[in-house]
Amino acid sequence: MSTRLQTGGRLIDRSHREGFSFNGKRLTGYAGDTLASALLANDQMLVGRSFKYHRPRGFVAAGGEEPNGLVNLGKGGQFEPNQRATTTELFDGLTAESQNHWPSLEFDIGAINAKFSRFLPAGFYYKMFIHPRPLWKHVYEPFIRNSAGLGKAPQDRDSDRYEHFYAFADLVIIGGGIAGLQAALTAGQAGAKVILMEQTAHWGGRAPVDGVTIDGAPADDWIAKTVTTLEGMENVTLRTRMMGAGVYDHGYVLGYERVADHCPGLGLPRHRLWRIRAKQIITATGAIERPLSFAGNDVPGVMLASAIRDYAVNWAVSPGDRTVVVTNNDDAYRTAICLKQAGLEVPVIIDARPEASGALPEAARALGIRVETGKGIAKVLGGKRVTGVALCAQAGEGAELEQVPCDAVAMSGGWSPVVHLWSHCGGKLNWDDAQAHFRPDANRAPTSHDGLPFVISAGSANGELHAAATLGDGDAAGKTAIRALGLSATAGGVAKAEAEAEEPMTPVWIMPQGAGVKLRSKMWLDYQNDVKVSDVQLAAQEGYESVEHAKRYTTLGMATDQGKLSNINGLAVLSQSLGADIPQVGTTTFRPPYTPISMGAIAGEARGEVFQPLRRTPIHEWNDANGADFEPVGQWRRPYTYLRNGENRADAVKREVLNTRNNLGLLDASTLGKLIVKGPDAGKFLDLLYTNMMSTLKPGRCRYGLMCSENGFLMDDGVVARIDDETFLCHTTTGGADHIFAHMEEWLQTEWWDMQVYVANATEQFAQIAVVGPNARKLLEKLGGMDVSAEALPFMAWADGELAGIKVRAYRISFSGELSYEIAVPASQGRAFWDACIAAGAEFGLMPYGTEALHVMRAEKGFIMIGDETDGTVIPQDLGLNWAISKKKEDYLGKRAQQRSHMTDPKRWKLVGLETVDGSVIPDGSYGVADGINANGQRNTQGRVTSTYYSPTLDRGIAMGLVLNGPDRMGEVVEFNKVDGTTVAAKIVDPVFYDKEGEKQNV
């Protein structure tokens, strides 16, 4: 069983007990525990079920590389799935639940998948789902849905707070082990502005656990002294619980600080995302021990040798009473020695190497530990917990030599440098044959904006695995950074680190090396995604020779741990299967983040009300207080309609349309784009931007214009008013204001930069209020101050003046077909003018109307709407707007494109009106159906609906649509499809349904 040792534990405080719960069980641990160490101290080795086969799984590691120990953490608004118990610091009141099992962790029905494991080989998903199709719905999809994902999705809104930090540094050092500390010391003393971050809560990394001495004293002494020195430097920022999540272009670094995970309830932000620009970066991210591939290496109780050492030294936790050590290197002997010295049993050290005669093996033998060289594990005995191991010759096929009872196995397949952050931005790797791992190639470092290297690797992350070399390498990295920064190093030596010398390791990728398929299909490579040695070998046999393809086919390394333990082992198995060298096969791409970071941290403060700015018109508050049913239009909120007592939306829209047609309506049109185009060449410029001629427009007059992209497609429309010889005011659609402004700037700056024209976006400087309906003039006359008669201000003219004592510019333009004035006033006067209209309008039956009534009325008049009648594939000619396209102009944006054969094809669908035979409303998005079927077996089509409404004015459904040869087919009836599979008959008519002669707007 796993238990707490009576003494020791350098990170725990036995005077502070912390209560927590796991699967509802009340347990206790100590301050300083991780959830993993506390669970192990309570003999909770079984912590989850594997993804595919639901096999029982226990802890393998003690840090961020842990693949199995994932839990659902917290409750309600603080619930989060897939949290690694090994990196979760214990606090009083923590609640955790294991994942991926049903009905319970101990008894799991999904484990039956394991019985069918031969039906779930590599590429299972790809192979099975091709055929037969009906099985998809009833077999495959339910299976995937049940087994997909590990943790549960949160149900509640995240109740925590998150924030972003922006920082700038000369040097960012990622990793606070002895290499990172030394690098910070060297660079800090030289005056560099340094940020040093460490992902755990503790400085020093593995050195204290491994018994390293520095300058003759325990490593902890040097670490404490160095941290104190660094804390005293103003130019050095130290942060624990902060992971280097990613290294990006030009020295951009993301730091993920877990501010309050270990102390919830203090009101601190939970996580903080640091967005840092660094001139130089040192990755001192350490190394991760590799598992060995032997049958049953996933049985709970089989752990990394270094992890067992961590649990014993840091938290005084013994994962087992009797631990068998299996290794291919000297380092794992430290675990055996450490356990033996803690009074625990180590029945045997199984060393795959033919010989083990270094200082560490000799020390182990001197303690009376049996060492078996040239041996391996044939298989692990036990199901939910290790009960023993069967020994075999490493060179053979797995014939059992003897069985050794034990309750834990400490395995070590050697160490892999954490090269992730080095590699994120293009750092290249070399294969180190002697240590059997990839390590950074300093000659092929990531380069920055100036083409010079900006990432330096240090310590075991750089392949310097032994303590003596690690410190020196940290110092060297610090000096390299200083030189790159143009600083000079201060004099002074580096402390001397010492540890037992180690003899060379021997790569072991499969144990035993001649294992047959029966054993290989029990050797796990990727614990989290349930990928075995046999799966990778099968992928290779089936032709997946590229490591990137094999990864996706087998899902090796694609789980949340991103293959931290499985990458090199899987790669080695693949290259052996292909008969190629490991460096030839190469690694998969390392992508940020290093370990998963919370969505909350990515969002930061940008949620809820501050998610994005909300744009409010000067009338917004009035709208809000008077029944406005808002709809988002970009970042604006516009009233869709104004609801009166008990009305539904449809009734309100109907009332607003009829009232505007019969009496008087008021529209807040302030969101319309208002671009001022000014300069001696303004007319010439607008002639190029609009399809029609603007330079001939007289001051005081307005003209409706169309704007196309260079590709010929209609992109915006609106009324242009000529203010004076050199000044135009261009109205754009609400959505077009910003991008049409940008469009104008782009052409002015990058193509016609010789033109003397300025453009200013005055959209927010003016409120614009449309006074619409037969009584419009009466209202303005009552407000008084300027002549708004048909003679003084005819249709499509504008005039400056005063109304209700407010300076205004009145445009006689209409988007409804009614007598209409659009009154522009300075934004600060918008509300006052609106209030004046409301107050004076009662006797004329004035009611405000929203965007839906606006849309209905424009459709009744056959006016197009950008985004309804256009979708980026429609040209003005499709919409019968040839009258707005100048034939005289040599050039305008889109003209050449509109001459292409596809654009002049008479078969292009053209705009018509549609009137249902039964008066009903055609569904939105409906297609006009034609005889026969196309190559895909779908009904042929002959048109589509672009706008469809119930018209209160006509009391029937009306629609506009693009129809094949439409304008030539007036009166013909076409069937349009409905969602239920039936069709509705509609007659092709003129798109202008109301007041075809335009008499009403021109009075």
Binding site: G251, R277, T750, E751, A897
Partner: protein, 109 residues
């Protein structure tokens, strides 16, 4: 995330301050041009591994369009310059030649 320097206002800013505008130095073909020329102008783009010329706009800054000469593989920035030119200035070409001798891009070298 790139850092670019706007040649107008002199600000060195984060990529998020800027807006990428595709390939630089396109020659516009309008009415009267051949189908082939127009097609090339509208659709044919370089996709080099190495030296490239791009348009950028300092959209959250001074609002100006400018050009950047950049390496698409290493993300090295050779220089930025005004958009009011139909070819890169000699100083930019020299800067590229110093780093990438023998480079060519469309008609430039």
């Amino acid at each position: 995330m790139l850092i670019l320097t706007c040649p107008y206002c002199g600000v060195s800013g984060e990529e998020t301050e800027f807006h990428a505008g595709g390939e630089a130095h396109l020659k516009r073909f309008g009415p009267g041009s051949s189908d082939a020329d127009f097609e090339s102008y509208l659709f044919h783009r370089e996709n080099p591994k190495g030296v490239h010329f791009e348009r950028w706009r300092h959209v959250s800054g001074c609002g100006k369009w400018f050009h950047a000469a950049r390496c698409t593989t290493t993300l090295e920035v050779f220089g930025t310059y005004t958009a009011q030119t139909s070819e890169p200035p000699q100083s930019i070409k020299d800067a590229i030649t110093a780093k990438r001798p023998g480079w060519t891009w469309r008609d430039f070298a």
